[in-house]
């Protein structure tokens, strides 16, 4: 792991903790945006250039903007005064540590035999350039790719149906959440 990778990793962890820890959901959202951008950096460090860029476009550019929209529109205050629950937090933390400690060693043991040399040998084949990813997507995975477009279509239709208001008086204006001036 290079120095830059290390720094980005620390940023990812810290922002991840912030997502969980910050009271104001909007701050959580901004922390998550940071986390997602850090992830994009990590992808780039792992030679997955296309994924890095689409991570920024899809997650940071579309999904999180939606989340921000909802948060801003609902104008939520910080989570109500009821505490998170000390016992609950402690239990969750302990469980988390157990998961981490019991899952990591087997993975490490499995791949420890792979030296840096083999990895760097493999690296040429696993470089996620736009061309390489496109080649795979449109040949080996073309059926799945088409299906995923269907999933997106269903998602769009579902979202429109869900967010349609039932009452007659409050018809949303086409296209805009806010609507034009009247």
């Amino acid at each position: 792991m290079s120095f830059i990778g290390f720094v980005i990793g620390v940023v990812a962890i810290v922002s991840g903790v912030c997502v969980v820890g910050l009271r104001n959901p909007l701050y959580s959202a901004f922390a998550l945006v940071t986390n997602l951008l850090a992830m994009a950096g990590l992808y780039a460090a792992l030679d997955a250039h296309f994924l890095a860029v689409s991570q920024v476009v899809v997650y940071a550019g579309a999904i999180m903007v939606l989340v921000l929209f909802v948060l801003m529109l609902l104008n939520l205050k910080s989570e109500s005064g009821r505490k998170l629950g000390f016992i609950r937090s402690a239990v969750a933390l302990v469980i988390g540590c157990v998961v981490l400690l019991s899952a990591l060693p087997p993975v490490f043991a499995r791949f420890a035999g792979m030296s840096e040399v083999t990895v760097s040998d493999n690296a040429r084949d696993s470089e996620g350039t736009v061309k390489a990813i496109g080649q795979e997507l449109y040949t080996k995975y073309v059926a799945q790719f088409e299906l995923s477009s269907l999933v997106l279509l269903i998602g769009v239709v579902g979202a429109v149906m869900l967010s349609k208001r039932r009452s007659v008086t409050l018809q949303p204006r086409a296209g805009g959440l806010v609507g034009g001036s009247k």
């Binding site: 250039h49 476009v57 940071a60 550019g61 903007v65 929209f69 736009v130 805009g176 806010v178």
Partner: protein, 365 residues
């Protein structure tokens, strides 16, 4: 060590160029709008400077000239005023986010300049130099990604304003930007289909070829529909021109930056003008052959050819800056539903159709 030095020089050059273009746009906007509205515009500050100091005296005519042209007013006086003004932060909001928002708004624009080539590659002192900061192969995608990140600056700015007008402005801006990103992306895809690459440098190089041996293979000739769509979508992305709904004065005070003053406010303005420059650069690179001169083949890898290419490119960029400013001061503002209709019902279908036709032509040819 030398490479690091070159990199630093390149970063400095690109940043400088972005800022210079931005300032140029500011001045063009001031004087241009005056010209269009039949006013005189800024022409006082510095126009009547008197001085007997020996080191000022020789420059006096130049200074007076600049003052009369409004350069001093727009570039010097405005910035100084911005620096000195009180930095007002509304109550009950996050100071941190309030301070960070303008930076987030400007930073992605600056970053996007990093992947765009400014001149053909050339040899200097035995080194082969790429005149761009980050030569990555997915350059177009990177520009798109930066465009989508720029939404956050606006969104945060509006939210930290802590009032309804700002929030509405930022929501409008965000909705507008993500809506118009779609046709933009589709036009990029059509370009990729035509030129077969995502690398802006190769796209420019391929525009140097001749179509049927007669016409230069410029983007505007092979993708005329794409050019129109991108022109409109790009102007909407900059939130200016007839698309300035997020800051519609008559409805929302000043929109998302209502609560900003001083240098933070100027940062937003700078970001906006840099965006104009970035967009003009994109148009010239993708559709107008970049540094190519029609029917003229400059020698490759020579420093003077690169210099000529750069000058050619910059004149195209300035042309598009002026074009955008003229449009901005000529057309009235859209209504919000018209804006959304244009984006979703006109530009998106047209761009998709354009892509389909492009693909068919590509397959058949």
């Amino acid at each position: 060590m030398f490479e690091l030095l070159v990199l630093l020089i390149k970063v400095g050059f690109v940043l400088n160029m972005a800022l210079v273009l931005g300032s140029l746009c500011t001045w063009l906007e001031r004087k241009g709008s005056a010209l269009i509205q039949d006013r005189v515009g800024a022409n006082r500050a510095g126009a009547f400077v008197q001085s007997d100091r020996w080191y000022v005296k020789p420059a006096l005519p130049l200074i007076r000239m600049m003052g009369w042209l409004g350069v001093i007013n727009t570039l010097l006086c405005d910035s100084v005023k911005g620096l000195w003004k009180e930095d007002f932060i509304p109550e009950g909001t996050s100071k941190f986010l309030h301070a960070v928002a303008p930076i987030i708004a400007v930073l992605p624009i600056m970053l996007a300049f990093a992947v765009l080539p400014l001149a053909p590659d050339f040899n200097l002192f035995g080194y082969y130099i790429h005149p761009r900061v980050a030569p990555i192969d997915a350059g177009l995608l990177f520009v798109l990604a930066m465009g989508s990140v720029a939404v956050y600056g606006v969104a945060i700015a509006g939210w930290t304003g802590n009032n309804k007008f700002s929030l509405l402005g930022s929501l409008r801006a965000a909705a507008q930007m993500i809506s118009y990103e779609l046709p933009m992306g589709v036009v990029f895809v059509a370009l990729i289909v035509v030129y077969g690459t995502l690398d802006v440098y190769s796209i420019v190089e391929k525009q140097g070829e001749l179509l049927w041996g007669i016409v230069p293979k410029w983007g505007v000739i092979v993708q005329p529909v794409g050019f129109v769509v991108l022109l409109l979508a790009g102007m909407a992305e900059t939130k200016r021109g007839p698309f300035d709904l997020p800051e519609a004065e008559s409805e929302l005070a000043a929109g998302y930056f209502t609560e900003y003053s001083g240098m933070k406010f100027l940062l937003f303005w700078l970001g906006e003008f840099c965006e104009i420059a970035l967009f003009a650069l994109l148009l010239s690179l993708l559709f107008f052959g970049g540094w190519q001169i029609p029917w003229v083949k400059l020698p490759e890898g020579v420093w003077w050819a690169a210099l000529i290419g750069h000058i050619v490119l910059m004149s195209k960029v300035v042309f598009f800056c002026i074009l955008q400013i003229v449009i901005r001061w000529t057309l009235p503002r859209f209504r919000y539903d018209q804006l959304m209709n244009l984006g979703w019902k006109m530009l998106l279908p047209v761009s998709l159709l354009n892509l389909a036709v492009t693909a068919i032509v590509k397959v058949l040819a």
